[in-house]
């Protein structure tokens, strides 16, 4: 296994690249602030992610720099930003996969908080309320003493597959329709509808789902550009889900 050790352990002092970060700065809370690009230089380190890089910049070069990291492990979805123009999770981006000139900007569509920080939470809440993204069960008293209802394991796995969404907003930022229509629910919304449609506990019918997404703010607003599918950091099967949902909704609409 000496080979493993050689390749996995970043031993020894190698010369590191000098990276230049070009960051779109703007603080809406500051009347004197105007949107502008600002550059920072930083020596690369082994295994450096954009989380490590931005933390170093804030601590040692510019304490006013705003960004959002929570888990720094790719599971909370807080740190999505435009990395060289493409939406993605900054914490999951290794600098070694980028050139020496790195451009960072906040996600479009969402309300800007400052610099790289945007309010995805507010947008997601609105989407969830509109699509009612929860299991709609029959009105009944829940008996906590009873064992849980059984679910077919394969079906449970299919639901979990879609449930892995972290609501990072990358799909919305990469969406042509979302740039033009404020009320578009995005791939994140359609994926959620697909997820609850699969759930046998959810009593909603196709007609009910048609009411939710059977128009231009839902499945029929999608232009099939599928930027969402390309950028999803969880590699959710968004293309399949949107196509499936659209076919379903067309059949309801034609009834």
């Amino acid at each position: 296994m000496s080979e493993t050790q050689k390749t996995a352990a970043p031993g020894g002092q190698t010369r590191h690249r000098m990276l230049t970060f070009h960051i779109l700065r703007y603080n809406p809370q500051d009347p004197d602030s105007k949107p502008h690009m600002q550059s920072y230089q930083l020596e690369e380190a082994e295994g450096m992610t954009l989380f490590l890089a931005l933390s170093e910049i804030r601590e040692h070069q510019d304490p006013t720099l705003q960004y959002d990291f929570v888990c720094r492990a790719g599971i909370c979805g807080s740190c999505s930003m435009l990395i060289n123009g493409r939406p993605g999770l900054a914490c999951r981006t290794l600098t070694k996969d980028l050139g020496t000139e790195i451009t960072l900007a906040p996600l479009p569509v969402f309300e800007l908080i400052g610099d790289l920080s945007v309010n995805t939470g507010k947008w997601m809440r609105g989407m969830s309320e509109r699509l009612e993204t929860w299991v709609h069960t029959k009105e009944q008293e829940l008996n906590l003493d009873k064992a849980e209802e059984r679910m077919d394991p394969d079906l449970a796995e299919s639901i979990y597959e879609l449930d892995r969404c972290v609501e990072c907003g990358s799909c919305v930022a990469a969406c042509g329709t979302a740039q033009m229509r404020n009320d578009f629910v995005g791939a994140v919304g359609m994926n959620k509808v697909a997820r609850f449609k699969l759930d046998p506990r959810d009593t909603r019918t196709d007609d009910d789902f048609y009411e939710l997404v059977g128009d231009d703010s839902g499945v029929f607003g999608c232009m099939s550009l599928l930027g969402c599918h390309d950028v999803c950091p969880k590699e959710l099967p968004l293309q399949t889900q949107i196509a499936f949902l659209r076919r379903k909704m067309i059949s309801v609409g034609l009834k």
């Binding site: 996995a8 352990a9 705003q66």
Partner: protein, 551 residues
């Protein structure tokens, strides 16, 4: 593979398999370190994620407002009753006051007082500090800090214990599987503190792998096969690829123990309420609710989250419903706390101080990691406490380089590090004074568990103007225990027993003998009744496969 295979999943309510056919379709369970039975429910490798989204969806369904990006910076109280909090908006930087009959802290752990932690970067122990800074409420067992054996190097991101539960191995610089040398019975599945300590011990023997980020060991899951890794440990695979650029089906993962869990927290009674400050509740990792004691088993963090959420939530609701808990809110008091916080932030912004908040934070983390880590001893702890006290003094002299309006990340670091230092001191000072080893708290100079002198909770108070916490101790009553402290199944039987232990054990043995043939509920009631401690709605028996409920 076993019959019925353990695939995965739920959508956070119901799930998969166990190896028994009759359990098909129920929530999946598996082994975790330190347990002999499958007892840990899981959803693939996203258990927390699935539960979080279900709870969040439910909150939206119920129309519950969630005020995001708000941070409590001070609790409003009169020394007896908590009335709410002064809250800072993390978008605009504005202060406001939230007044409430009941105030609950659910702020998670305090991992960021350490340099290497598996915790999220927002786990700074601010909730702990808020309670401490009241000068009235106290923290319990703060020196009980758990380290997780398998944080990846260098980021400290956790790879799940499931890796070892499923059969993954720990190897050293020579590729040697070393855990069986230390723990022949449980090997890689000994409890977390044991595995962590053995790993550090092995590194000290010169068996670590040297790298630019310090030494580490290897976690080898290649033997589980690509199929298993890509299905059951998908998140582990993602972490390795995204944060290190390696494929764990082919390569070993560099790991080292990292801070993982804060067993201590705001000391509460069984309803989750502070014992000193009425109307202040704490739940989850932020609380010392006696779910864990001085150690914690894998899976018990999510258990604490949902169980405390359910039980304490119910108690809070009951509390608010009671007429006697109505409050006349003293507006002058709220104003006083608001003004005081406003003044503190103002003086930070206008300070001519020379101290850098980020630097103080880093220094604190270094001290905690080197002096209050897995191995502890009196000299290093005394040194660490002194150093932290010095940092606390220096933190009163922080100067900011920028006064930008809005959230101002430098200002945030400044007021948080002042709070975090108090939490760090509660941990370090508690560790210095506990002259025994217990659970995750390991003293090289006092390597034995000493039930005779130390079977008690540490309580830390922070009195006004003090520069150290005041420690008190709360004695435990062995005669009321269901399971008197005994041998825990690993290591030498070299602890010092409590004088009551043998007596209580004999008592329990006698009860069990007399009640042989009685159902387990009757035995439980005789040994340690607990149902009256639950909210009325949660007192029923849980259905099990072998104990169906009637009707």
């Amino acid at each position: 593979m076993r019959k019925g295979d353990r695939q995965v999943i739920i959508n956070s309510q119901k799930v998969t398999i166990t190896e028994r056919d009759e359990a098909q379709g129920l929530i999946a369970q598996r082994d975790f370190g330190g347990t002999k039975k499958w007892r840990t429910c899981y959803v693939s490798d996203g258990t927390g994620h699935a539960m979080l989204y279900t709870a969040s969806d439910r909150a939206i369904a119920e129309g519950i407002d969630v005020h995001e990006r708000k941070e409590a910076i001070s609790l409003i109280h009169d020394g007896h009753r908590c009335y709410g909090a002064v809250v800072r908006d993390l978008i605009t930087g504005e202060l406001s006051v939230y007044l409430a009959k009941a105030t609950a802290l659910a702020t998670g752990g305090a991992g960021k007082v350490y340099r290497v932690t598996t915790n999220a970067i927002i786990c700074e122990g601010i909730g702990h500090a808020l309670a401490l800074e009241t000068g009235v409420a106290c923290l319990g067992n703060m020196e009980a800090v758990q380290f997780h054996p398998t944080g990846i190097v260098p980021l400290g991101i956790l790879v799940t214990e499931g890796c070892r539960g499923d059969g993954g191995l720990l190897r050293d610089v020579d590729g040697h599987r070393f855990m069986p040398d230390y723990e022949p019975e449980k090997k890689e599945l000994a409890s977390r503190d044991v595995v962590s300590r053995r790993m550090e011990e092995h590194i000290r023997k010169g068996k670590g792998v040297k790298s630019r980020f310090g030494e580490h060991l290897w976690l080898d899951i290649t033997l589980l096969g690509r199929h298993h890794i890509e299905h059951n440990l998908r998140e582990v695979k993602e972490i390795c690829e995204s944060f290190m650029g390696i494929d764990p089906a082919e390569k070993w993962i560099p790991v080292r123990p990292a801070h993982h869990y804060t067993m201590g927290g705001v000391r509460t009674n069984h309803t989750g309420e502070s014992q000193q400050l009425k109307g202040l509740f704490a739940a989850g990792e932020a609380a010392c609710w006696d779910m864990h004691g001085f150690n914690r088993l894998g899976g018990n963090s999510v258990a604490e989250t949902v169980v405390a959420g359910m039980i304490v939530g119910e108690f809070i609701s009951d509390f608010c419903d009671k007429k006697e808990n109505d409050i006349d809110i003293p507006m002058s008091l709220a104003q006083q706390f608001y003004d005081s916080e406003k003044a503190k932030l103002g003086s930070l912004l206008n300070s001519a101080g020379k101290e850098n908040a980020f630097k103080l934070n880093t220094e604190m983390q270094e001290i905690m990691t080197s002096s209050v880590g897995i191995f502890r001893n009196g000299d290093a702890l005394a040194e660490g406490v002194k150093h932290l006290q010095d940092l606390l003094k220096r933190s009163r002299n922080i100067g900011l380089t920028s006064k930008v309006p809005g959230v101002n990340p430098e200002l945030v670091m400044a007021y948080r590090v002042q709070k975090m230092l108090k939490v760090a001191l509660a941990i370090a000072y508690g560790a210095q004074n506990r002259t025994e080893s217990r659970g995750a708290h390991f003293r090289e100079d006092y390597p034995h568990r000493n039930d005779q002198e130390w079977l008690k909770r540490t309580l830390a108070f922070w009195r006004d103007g003090a520069d150290l916490p005041e420690l008190q101790y709360e004695t435990l009553d062995v005669m009321k225990m269901e399971l008197p402290p005994g041998w825990r199944g690993y290591g030498a039987k070299d602890y010092i027993d409590h004088p009551d232990t043998a007596k209580r054990q004999a008592e329990i043995d006698e009860i069990r003998k007399q009640m042989e043939g009685s159902d387990r509920f009757a035995v439980q009631d005789k040994i340690m009744p607990f149902r009256d401690k639950l909210p009325a709605s949660l007192r029923g028996r849980n259905e099990r496969l072998d104990e169906p409920l009637n009707g």
